[in-house]
Symmetry: C2
Subunit: 472 residues, 2 copies
C-alpha cells in the first residue's frame, strides 16, 4: 500500500480537524469578507486601462501583450450536428500553478488553504489553494508582488511531492489552457507560519464545505479531484477495518473509489473507447479575428451575439480596499445564464459506477475530454428543454430527493468568469436504470476515473468539480 | 494476473513457432521481393501527377486536397538554444490504423504479419501489420481498393480487443500525426484465411527478426512496443517458473519489463518530472508558406536548404509490377544522412534502468515526448561531432562489443520517407556509470516505460522502435 495514498485517504475521511472546526473556518471566511471592500463595476471594453481592443480585428489584449487575450476561433469538426462554428475564446498560453502545501498534524495530512479574493466569485472570498499563480505572476516579469509561498513550488525549498498533474480548464471558454495541479508536503521538522489569509484544513473538511454553495473555489476543487486513494481488491476492501467505521452511509462511494476489478468495463476497454473516439473525430481550430466571426460582435462595449446566447465578454473595473487599495481593469466572461453539471451514478454489482460522457469542446487539448453525464454550461437548461434536448437531463432534474447525493452551486474561476455559477449534482438512479448507453457514454468506477486523472487531459473540469465533492 | 498480459508474455518468449520457422519467413519474404518489380524514380516536384505545388506559397498538396500535404511552419520555443526556426513539415490530419489480427495456435498467440511493399523502404518489402490504412484509405472516399481485413478493425466483425492506443509518428517530420495502434484477437472458433502476402508469427519471432537490418517495418515495431506484460513484485518475480528457463542471459531484461517497485524513481516522480517540463517549456507553431520559411526553398524540383542539412522533400514516381501494374507519384522526405537512436541502460539494484531523454520536436502533440538517450536523426552524427555536441554519444559509439545489447539498422515509415534508415542501439554501460544526469533525463525501468506507453503521446517513435527490439 502506497503511503501517500493512505495519507490522502486518512485526510479525506477526517472531517473534524483538531486545529479548526468548519464553523470556525466559515466565521474566519466571513471575517475576511468583511475586512475588505471589493467593488466590481462593468465598464466599456474600450475604456479598460492597460487593455486594448484592436481596431481592425476586434481582439482584446493587454498593452504588454502578456496575461491573456480574447481572440476569435473558427471550429471545424465531424462531431455532433454542427460542423462549423465561430466563437471568441480566452487565449492564455502559459501554465499556472494551483498548489497546496501539506503538513501532518497529529498524523493527519492538512492543507494550507487561502481565503482569496477574486472579483468574479459569487461571495468574492472563497477557499483557494495556497498558491494560485500564472507564469507571468511567478516569473515576476511585471512589477506585481511575489506570490506568497512560491518558494515551496518552484524548487527553491526542498519538499516532498505528493501530486503533480497538468489539468485542463473549461474547453468551451479557454484555448488549450492547462494548470499545474500540485501538492507538496513539508519535510519533517519544516514549518510555515500561516499568514492571516491562510488556515490548515483536511481534505475531509474541504469536502464538507464543498457541499455549501460557493465556498470552495474552482482551483481548490480541481486539485482535490486529482487525489487518488490507491486500489484494492474486493476481498481486501471488505476486510479493511477503516470501512467498518460508523460512516456506513458513505461506504459505497468509498468502495467505488478504491475498488480494483468487478468493474463493468476493464481499464483497457475504457482506453480503447477513448482511442476510438479520438481516431474518429476531428477538431480543427483556425484563429480568426473577432470581427470576422459569424454571430459575435462588439456592441455597446461588450462582445456578444445578437441573440445574447451562451456568454458575453465584458470589461470590469475592480477595486479592492483592504489595508491598501488595489484597482485594475480587465475583461471577463459573463455567462448568459447558470448551467448544470451532473453525474448519474448507479450500483453495478454493489459498486457505484459513473455514467461518463465524452465531450468535444473547442478549446480541448486533445479533441474530447470526459465530462459529466449532463453538462449544459452554455445553454439555458431551465427553459431551453424544448429548444434542444440534453440526454439524461430529465432523470437528473426529476430525481427523487433521496437519490440526490449532491446538489450545490459552485462558482467557476473568479479571475476570468464574472459571477458564473453552475449547479453541481450527483444523482443515484438505482439498479433499475438501463445499462445500455450511447457510443459517447461509458460506465466507470470512481477508481477508474481517478486513475485517468493522473494523466493529462482526460477528465474535464466539470467532472473534476463533481468528483472533488464526493465524501467518504 | 491479467490473462492478456500473460498471453503477450508467452507469445514474446516463443521464438520458434510450430507454424513457420524464421528461416521459412525470410525465404518467403525474399520470394515476395522477387515476385514483384518495384521501381522508384525521383522526379521534379512540379511534375508529379495528381499533386500540385502552389505557386504562391510553395506548399505541396494532392489535387483532391486529401492524403497529406507539405507545408511550412514557424516554431517558437523557450527549450534549448534555438528560440525560433522554420521548417517544412508533413501535415496529415487523420488517424490511421496500424493493426494486427491475433489468434492462438497451440495455446500461443500469433499475429497475422504482412509482407508489404513500401516504396521508401530499404529492401522494399518488409514485415508489416495486418492492416496499415489511413482514414482516406479505409473510408474509401477514393476509388482505391478496400484494404484487406479492414472488417476486423472497424467494428464490422466481432473480435476481442487486446490493445488500442494512439501513438505519435516522428515529431521532427510530421505535424501532430498519430496512428491507432491496435491488436484484435479472433473469437474462439473464428478463423481467417491468410492471403499469400500474410503469415502467422509470434511476438518472439518478430523480436528475433527485428535484430536483422531492415526486415521488420516501423509500423510493426510501434505496435509491438505498446504490448505490456503485466507487473509483479520482486518476490513474485523470483518465484515464477518461467524465469527459471534456459534463457538466463535475457532474464535481467524480462525482470526490468515486469518489475513493480525497486525502481530508481516512483511512477509519481516520473509523472511529476514530465509535468514540470511541460509547465516550463512552450512550443508555439504558426503555419506559414514554404516560400516564407527562412532557409528552405524550392530549387531544382526539390525543397531543401542551401546547405542541404537535415532533409529534403523530393518527388518520386513509383511503379509496382506484380500481377498488375500500379503506378503513382508522390512527395517523400529524403534524409541528408542516416541517424542514430540509442538507449543507454544500466542495472540499478539488479534491475535494468533506461536513461530516458525528454525531447522537444516541432510536430509533437504535447511539447515534449520521451526519446532515447541519444537521438540524432537530423544531424550527421558520424562526422558532425565537432559541429555540435550530443550528450552520451561517445558512450554509445565507443561501447565495448560485449556491452552492446542491440545494434541494427531500421527503416523509417516507407510510405513517407525515402530510404531513411537509422542505427538502433541499446548499450549496457554497467554499474559504474554515473546516476547523476541532466534535468531533461530520467532513469526508468522498462515496466515504467511500458506503463507510460498505454497512454497517448508519452514515448516517441524512436523510443518505441528500440523497445520493440527487446528480447526476453
Amino acid at each position: 500500500m502506497n503511503n501517500i495514498d493512505f495519507d490522502f485517504l486518512e485526510s479525506a475521511i477526517t472531517t473534524d480537524s483538531k486545529l479548526f472546526s468548519n464553523n470556525e473556518i466559515l466565521t474566519w471566511l466571513s471575517d475576511r469578507r468583511e475586512a475588505t471592500q471589493t467593488v466590481v463595476r462593468q465598464i466599456h471594453l474600450a475604456s479598460m486601462k492597460n487593455w486594448k481592443v484592436d481596431e481592425l480585428t476586434g481582439d482584446v489584449r493587454h498593452v504588454t501583450g502578456r496575461f491573456f487575450s480574447i481572440e476569435g476561433i473558427r471550429v471545424r469538426t465531424n462531431w455532433g450536428d454542427l460542423p462549423r462554428w465561430d466563437q471568441p475564446i480566452i487565449n492564455q498560453p502559459e501554465v499556472g500553478f494551483l498548489g497546496f502545501i501539506a503538513k501532518k498534524f497529529d498524523g493527519v495530512l492538512h492543507f494550507l488553504v487561502q481565503a482569496k479574493i477574486e472579483p468574479g466569485n459569487i461571495n468574492i472570498v472563497q477557499l483557494s489553494p495556497t498558491l494560485q499563480a500564472t507564469r507571468s505572476n511567478y516569473s515576476q516579469i511585471h512589477k506585481g508582488k511575489r506570490p506568497r509561498y512560491l518558494e515551496y513550488f518552484n524548487g527553491e525549498k526542498k519538499v516532498d511531492l505528493l501530486l503533480d498533474q497538468l489539468q485542463s480548464e473549461q474547453g468551451a471558454r479557454f484555448l488549450r489552457k492547462r494548470n499545474r495541479n500540485i501538492i507538496v508536503q513539508l519535510l519533517d521538522g519544516d514549518d510555515v507560519e500561516p499568514h492571516d489569509d491562510f488556515k490548515w484544513m483536511t481534505i475531509g473538511q474541504l469536502k464538507e464545505l464543498i457541499r455549501l454553495d460557493n465556498v470552495v473555489n474552482m482551483d481548490t476543487r480541481t486539485v482535490l479531484s486529482g487525489v487518488s486513494y490507491g486500489g484494492y481488491s474486493k476481498a481486501a476492501l471488505e476486510g479493511m477495518y477503516r470501512f467498518e467505521s460508523s460512516r456506513k452511509d458513505s461506504r459505497p462511494m468509498l468502495r467505488s473509489a478504491l475498488l480494483n476489478g468487478s468493474t463493468r468495463n476493464s481499464f483497457r476497454d475504457i482506453l480503447s473507447w477513448i482511442t476510438n473516439l479520438k481516431s474518429t473525430y476531428d477538431l480543427f481550430i483556425d484563429k480568426i479575428a473577432i470581427n470576422q466571426t459569424s454571430d459575435w460582435r462588439h456592441s455597446g462595449g461588450v462582445i456578444a451575439r445578437p441573440d445574447n446566447k451562451y456568454f458575453s465578454v465584458i470589461g470590469v473595473n475592480v477595486s479592492i480596499e483592504n489595508r491598501e487599495v488595489i484597482n485594475w481593469d480587465q475583461p471577463m466572461v459573463q455567462p448568459s445564464q447558470e448551467g448544470l453539471v451532473a453525474f448519474i451514478v448507479r450500483p453495478i454489482d454493489g459498486v457505484y459506477h459513473f455514467l461518463v460522457q465524452a465531450k468535444l469542446e473547442a478549446g480541448n487539448f486533445d479533441i474530447i475530454e470526459l465530462a459529466p453525464t449532463v453538462q449544459c454550461l452554455t445553454g439555458n437548461y431551465r427553459i431551453g428543454l424544448n429548444e434542444y434536448s440534453v440526454p439524461y437531463i430529465d432523470e437528473v432534474l426529476a430525481a427523487d430527493k433521496d437519490c440526490v447525493l449532491l446538489d450545490v452551486m459552485q462558482s467557476e474561476e473568479g479571475g476570468r468568469f464574472f459571477n458564473e455559477q453552475n449547479r453541481n449534482m450527483i444523482v443515484d438512479v438505482g439498479e433499475n436504470f438501463s445499462l445500455e448507453i450511447g457510443d459517447n457514454y461509458c460506465w466507470m468506477t470512481l477508481n477508474q476515473l481517478l486513475r485517468l486523472i493522473e494523466f493529462n487531459n482526460y477528465l474535464n473540469i466539470a467532472s473534476r468539480s463533481l468528483i472533488s465533492a464526493i465524501k467518504f
